[in-house]
Symmetry: C2
Subunit: 339 residues, 2 copies
């Protein structure tokens, strides 16, 4: 690999001059400038970013850490698409590294990006606790922004939506329509998101004076098959419910499938809490509603805030996003489904 020094020799100038035409900083005569360009072409020179970043102490690069358990579904897709596009506009490079499947590995991934001297890193955590993240942020100079968690000590470093409220609103909609026996399929309860959505469900019921029936709550792990299993379990146990809320799109789809198999006509309302519009558009089913989580807005806010920190240094306050309930068709009360 040709270095800047070889280019300098070929062009008959000093490395400083080459460096100047490369960076555009400083004056250099037209004549030498052309010599340099020729030499660059002749040698096939490429700048060594390691050396450059080491010298400049900056890399125009931003790291992103995502657990590979999230490499699934349209949520990840949307996240990546928008991140990439926004970074492109900013003229910076986005580097994705796998957060694997444990807190330790998520931490290592962040550390790697930091050691590589990325200007900043964004993490969509799955296993790290908020306290651990608060610590990590406190220990480093580079800004580390966190999506989908609320941190206690670093308000301006986290971007999140009110998961509990979004979940509660979906349930409240159903209650307003006259439903009282509302089943709920949880997400993984080792994830804060899963817990918050469950909490929203319970809060909505209690607020309306409806007793929480633990028998109507079935544990899931975000996968479609969990949705099917949940409905099968409810049916096997002979539970009564006229509506069902699943903690994300995938499980809702599974639930719908199972409902159909059990020949349960779907006035048994189904509210889907999840990300994005349901990814199975061609199979959209009547009576399917959804809470659209603001992925797009959050990633945009995250990147904008990060850039602001890098450029300006001035920090903005936190901001909370909220999910939006998408009603696909009238969710009228319908007949009680006695299974």
């Amino acid at each position: 690999m040709a270095t800047i020094l070889e280019v300098a020799k070929v062009a008959g100038v000093s490395k400083a001059t080459v460096s100047r035409v490369l960076s555009g900083n400083g004056y250099v005569s037209q004549e030498k400038r052309e010599k340099v360009f020729e030499a660059i072409a002749a040698t096939g020179f490429r700048p060594n970013l390691l050396a450059r970043n080491l010298a400049t102490k900056s890399s125009q690069t931003i790291g992103l850490v995502i657990t590979n358990t999230l490499y699934t579904g349209s949520y990840f897709t949307e996240l990546m698409q928008h991140s990439a596009r926004l970074m492109e506009q900013q003229g910076r490079q986005l580097l994705l590294v796998d957060g694997k499947h444990s807190a330790e590995e998520e931490r290592a991934a962040i550390q790697f990006l930091l050691d590589l001297r990325c200007d900043g890193v964004i993490i969509y955590p799955r296993f790290l606790t908020t306290d651990e993240m608060d610590n990590i942020i406190a220990q480093h100079n580079q800004p580390i922004l966190v999506i989908n968690r609320r941190l206690r000590q670093h308000d301006s470093y986290c971007i999140y939506s009110d998961q509990q409220r979004s979940s509660a609103e979906a349930v409240e909609q159903l209650i307003a329509l006259g439903h009282r026996d509302i089943a709920f399929i949880t997400g993984s309860l080792d994830s804060p998101t899963g817990r918050e959505r469950l909490a929203g469900y319970k809060a909505a019921l209690q607020k309306q004076g409806i007793a929480v029936d633990e028998g109507l709550i079935v544990a899931g792990k975000w996968q479609a098959q969990n949705g099917m299993a949940a409905v099968n379990a409810l049916v096997a146990q002979g539970r009564n419910f006229t509506a069902l809320v699943a903690s994300n799109d995938d499980m809702a789809v599974g639930a719908l499938k199972a409902l159909a198999q059990h020949q349960i006509a779907v006035p048994a309302q189904v509210a889907v809490i999840g990300f994005d519009d349901i990814p199975l558009a061609p199979f959209t089913i009547p009576a399917l509603s959804s809470v659209k989580m603001p992925v797009t807005e959050m990633i945009q806010e995250t990147i904008e805030r990060l850039i602001a920190m890098l450029d300006g240094g001035e920090m903005r306050n936190d901001k909370m996003f909220s999910g939006e309930l998408i009603v696909r068709e009238s969710m009228g009360p319908g007949p009680h489904n006695n299974l």
Copy 2:
């Protein structure tokens, strides 16, 4: 950020010694070793990978370039999952950067990774031509492996499957079952994969002496909605067909949806050519078959070969993978569907 020099001072040794305990190379007394560890902990030292990689001329890092138009569906998921897991076993870091949406940008992404001195890079191209890739590979020292393309000049640098053959086999299956009027939904024809699958369809027909009816070929762009539109078009034009092959899973799903809407009982066989098992498991529909493309095997072969090049230097020959037809249920001939 504490440097190795500060650690040395705190520990009362030279930087060379610190470097030794860090790398594990060279002898160092137990006493000093402990001093160093203490100093590291005290200063919160973290190695600067830019400096390290610059000095070592190697980073245990491999870059991966994928166009963001592929950030969708289970194919990408599987690709990322496996890549990450395999790299993890190898003790190397995987860096994903966006290939965006043009040949120029794909080239830039590769260049970036190269400039960052990744040990090697893997690209899953979408817009770059094979000739361009041959050039790129020829111009660089670091190994650049290509998935899903067959290169003319660098056999050992590409891993691919025989798309045309896989496609042809699916069609041949249908022909063997007695089908003669087989519709085909193409992928984007600006992609080699799309063209090869179409070629396979035509080849299979011709081999059996069945004339290719251009009216049964409908253009799609890999998306579910294209599958729906294609079926709608076929119906609107009053085409006769007893079987349908879609160029990937997503379009097959859309096609199935449309077939259902048109009340076409599905003895109109549907063969799906696509990647992976169909991702919509809960909605699997009778008479749906699929060609499982060997993503897993290909990415594994790619990484193994790359590692071999980096470690050994000895190069292996190319190897072609083939898709495997997954028959979900008997694809018996069924009644002719006269639309």
